[in-house]
Amino acid sequence: MQNLKKFALLFSFILIIGVLAACGGSDEEEASNEETNKEETNANNGESNKDADLSGEIKLAGSSTVFPIMEYVTYEFVQENPGVNTPLESVGSGGGFERSTKGEIDFSNASRPIKEEEKALAEENGIELIETVLAYDGLSVVVSKENDFLEELTMEQLRDIFLSERGNTKWSDIDPSWPDEEIVIYSPGHDSGTFDYFNEVVLEEKPMREGEGVTLSEDDNLLVRGIQEDPYAIGFFGYAYYVANEDSLKVLAIDGGNGPVKPSGETIQDGTYSPLSRPLFTYINAESLKKPEVQAFTDFLLSGAAAEGAELVGYVPLPEEEYKSQLEALQAKYK
């Protein structure tokens, strides 16, 4: 009998812990909401803010490359509109389209344009996705600061280094004036949008070298560390990762046919860093634009926040007029 009692006691203990955790959570949430509300009213004293009482949920999902921009935009948006919840998922461009083509999310972030089959799927489900460019990313080809023989590469030389069919394993195989050392490659994993882009533009869908001397990783910081320490290593990733590690990495000028160009704010924005600069997108569900909170978010996104976010994380914002014209085109649908 005593055993039974103890068992019942334990079971209710587990239940109580569960319930407490649940209640504790929501209590604190209310408290913190109140706090932010208070701050909000304080901040807006004297200012008229028609969005202060917005509520609802704006769902965003997609590319991990676009994630940092959107993290900035949602964070700043929620500071001004604490009633709106903005869950943002980082699941890759394809993962985002999987959700947006079913109409499950409002914003689908992508580091590549939507594919034909994804577009067809969206149409089948009666969903219209409006393409919006947020910023540019320059795919940067980098070597270590200690590397003293590379300054620039042509697209052909890039293919010599990365394509498996060229069969080069030593730097001297490509150019006799380069050292007789093994080429060490650091590349983003095959699932990333960055690799997709490199695959399309540089490799032209032919297989990249694999095996010895080649490291693939989804963790860009690991690529950075690998390249930093090895004068014979080469790799590529988004411009933001180069900017964050400028003092230990050397970025190469790429010759796409019109002379070597290094990626920089200007060359990426004006398109001279070609063909390795790419636009970053978000696709807006046209149906969602009927919701006031999504309208407010779109206004916020394209009147400054996207540019600030891009700047903060090391991407390159569009010229101001381009944000403006995109916003006007969108506003025509709801204003």
């Binding site: 055993n3 068992f7 649940a22 959570g25 940092p68 993290e71 869950p87 998922e89 699941v91 963790d219």
Partner: protein, 292 residues
């Protein structure tokens, strides 16, 4: 002749002692190695992240700025998930174990189920994520919610709990059960008053270890739609949420020198939560073991 064997046996003896010493050092080395690795991990994480640890870090939502980023959303999300997992998986897991050990006939079907449960315990977690996506998110229409995440995690740890609970039940001495039957108790009475109390410490240990695994999992949660950045707590079990490992992963993969520090601080919080859970498990277990 006699002398010779004497010499031989001392030689053999020496040889044995040497072997004994060799294996002693070998096993000690193996233990030391894992301890050293653990110590290195702790040292690295704590030296990197402890400086950043503050009340603000616990109370703040994620942020695009390293000095303002906090783990609050992840911490609460993880605790809520664990609460759901605990209620669902322990109830179902223990019930399954009792059925399999005490009620099920020992036939081919039972052993088939048995081996499948053991196989399930080794299935990669992402597979459970896909199952959760199909079943909870789409078929049961729970959407990408806390509930879907919790139930998916429950499936993930269920096999571990079943196996642990079965082991615990099996270790209950048969004399106890037979004594109970001998007193005229029914099967149900025996299970409830003899088997379960005796097996409780083992069940609790297994369950807490399983929950500790759930609190560190990321992959299935990403599939069933946990957010990476969110600035509000879930308003109900159907709300959006995030969890600690997702936050930590997101911080680690960001460019910049400050983010690994934020990630290390997040790992410290995760370790503290794990430590608290394991301590609770140890306390409960000791309490029940002493009674038995």
């Amino acid at each position: 002749m006699a002398l010779q064997t004497g010499e031989k046996s001392t030689k053999r003896m020496k040889n044995r002692i040497r072997k004994n010493k060799l294996f002693h050092t070998l096993f000690f080395g193996a233990t030391a190695l894992s301890l050293v690795i653990l110590a290195m991990l702790f040292y690295r994480i704590i030296s990197q992240g402890a400086g950043n640890l503050s009340w603000d870090f616990i109370k703040n939502f994620p942020a695009p700025y390293p000095d303002r980023a906090g783990i609050y959303a992840g911490l609460v999300g993880s605790l809520l998930l664990i609460a759901i997992v605990a209620v669902v998986s322990i109830t179902i897991g223990v019930a399954t174990a009792i059925y399999l050990e005490e009620y099920a006939k020992k036939n081919k079907l039972t052993s088939f189920i048995q081996s499948n449960i053991q196989n399930l315990a080794g299935v990669p977690s992402i597979v459970f994520g896909l199952l959760g996506l199909t079943f909870f998110v789409y078929i049961l229409n729970f959407d990408f919610s806390l509930l879907s995440g919790g139930l998916t995690m429950s499936l993930l740890v269920l096999p571990i709990i079943v196996v642990a609970a079965q082991e615990a039940i099996r270790s209950v001495p048969n004399d106890l059960k037979e004594a109970s039957y001998g007193m005229g108790a029914t099967k149900w009475q025996t299970v409830l008053r003899v088997v379960i109390p005796a097996a409780l410490p083992g069940m609790i240990t297994g369950s807490i270890l399983a929950l500790s695994r759930a609190i560190g999992e990321t992959a299935p949660l990403l599939v069933v739609g946990a957010a990476t950045a969110i600035y509000a707590l879930p308003d109900s079990i159907f709300g959006s949420y995030t969890a600690m490992p997702i936050q930590i992963y997101s911080w680690i993969s960001k460019p910049g020198d400050e983010w690994p520090v934020v990630a290390a601080t997040g790992i410290i919080i995760l370790l503290i939560v794990l430590l608290i859970m394991n301590t609770i498990a140890a306390l409960i277990r000791n309490k029940f073991q002493r009674r038995n």
